[in-house]
Symmetry: C2
Subunit: 185 residues, 2 copies
């Protein structure tokens, strides 16, 4: 089977605008971690910025705080289970979260944190600000580089023509699934 082709994305806010869930990857050197965030949104087109919410007690928070970097990986329905399971066990309690979830690392180009090979889009992000929200922080970051699966991207937008299923977290272990688009005339 031929490897899945990815293309570079110039307007990464469009990867995030539909509001799907994301898997955040953090780490440096020997240790890394993964967690899922339903609460994410684009903040700016140029330079491309994104906001994600991160719990202060999360194992990943210390990485974000110390390294100032993270990967943002967009899953499709085929890895919905991994998205849920990423939140079921803490990075404090598992040696290798990638291994635990059955996901593979993909080397980044601009940051040290790994990306998720099974994701359908991947962004490399550098933190520019962390705002206190009580038990959580709002992490605001610039997207340095973005790529998406070539078969799922067309004319600068997600392309539902070839089986794409984006997943949007509803609560608990449930996702809304978008698998088609409408165009307003």
């Amino acid at each position: 089977m031929a490897a899945t082709q990815f293309c570079k994305i110039n307007e990464p806010h469009r990867l995030i605008t539909p509001g799907s869930v994301a898997i955040i990857s953090v780490g440096i050197g020997d240790k890394d971690n993964l967690f899922s965030v339903a609460w994410n949104m684009p903040l700016r087109k140029e330079p491309p910025m994104v906001a994600i919410l991160c719990g202060k007690r999360h194992y990943s928070y210390q990485f974000i705080n110390e390294t100032g970097e993270f990967g943002m990986n967009i899953p499709d329905a085929t890895i919905a289970k991994q998205v849920i399971n990423a939140g079921k066990i803490s990075g404090f309690d598992v040696d290798d979260k990638f291994d635990h979830l059955g996901l593979n690392r993909q080397k980044s180009e601009k940051i040290l944190a790994p990306l998720v090979r099974e994701a359908i889009a991947r962004m490399e992000c550098r933190v520019s600000r962390i705002d206190d929200m009580g038990s959580s922080v709002l992490v605001i970051a610039q997207i340095l580089r973005a790529e998406a699966r070539e078969d799922y991207w067309k004319d600068g937008l997600w392309n539902f023509g070839s089986g794409l299923q984006l997943i949007h977290h509803m609560g608990g272990n449930k996702f809304a699934v978008s698998e088609k688009s409408i165009t307003v005339e």
Copy 2:
């Protein structure tokens, strides 16, 4: 035809978590306005908080700034056209945006800004912080009251069993549509 029934929502972050687009309603007394925001997300469960992005040059920005209030209305696919059209003409250039779009006002209970009668969920929000983002601001607000269509809400989550179509902005005049859910076992 019987009027559509709405029920009060106790966990309003679940209205927003799937990442659909929203119509923001602002105003006080004789003058009000509407605009659409794809870039929105929940920020906190208790008290329920939400973040939306608003352009500084937007007609609605002055209302949000001065009144410290807005309505957040969730549309479904039946009013996708109004969501797009809300962004095509500025409140500076039209006397009555509700009338222009063919939408109706619904009286709020906790704020002065009107809500959108045709929306499938409605939230009344009070601004707690406005953060500068360059040409835009990030508006952080508490959700004081929330309601959703009874037939589209079940066990504290959106319910796709009765024809619900949530719309997620992709870019331009295109929306991804979610009309089913999956449950991870």
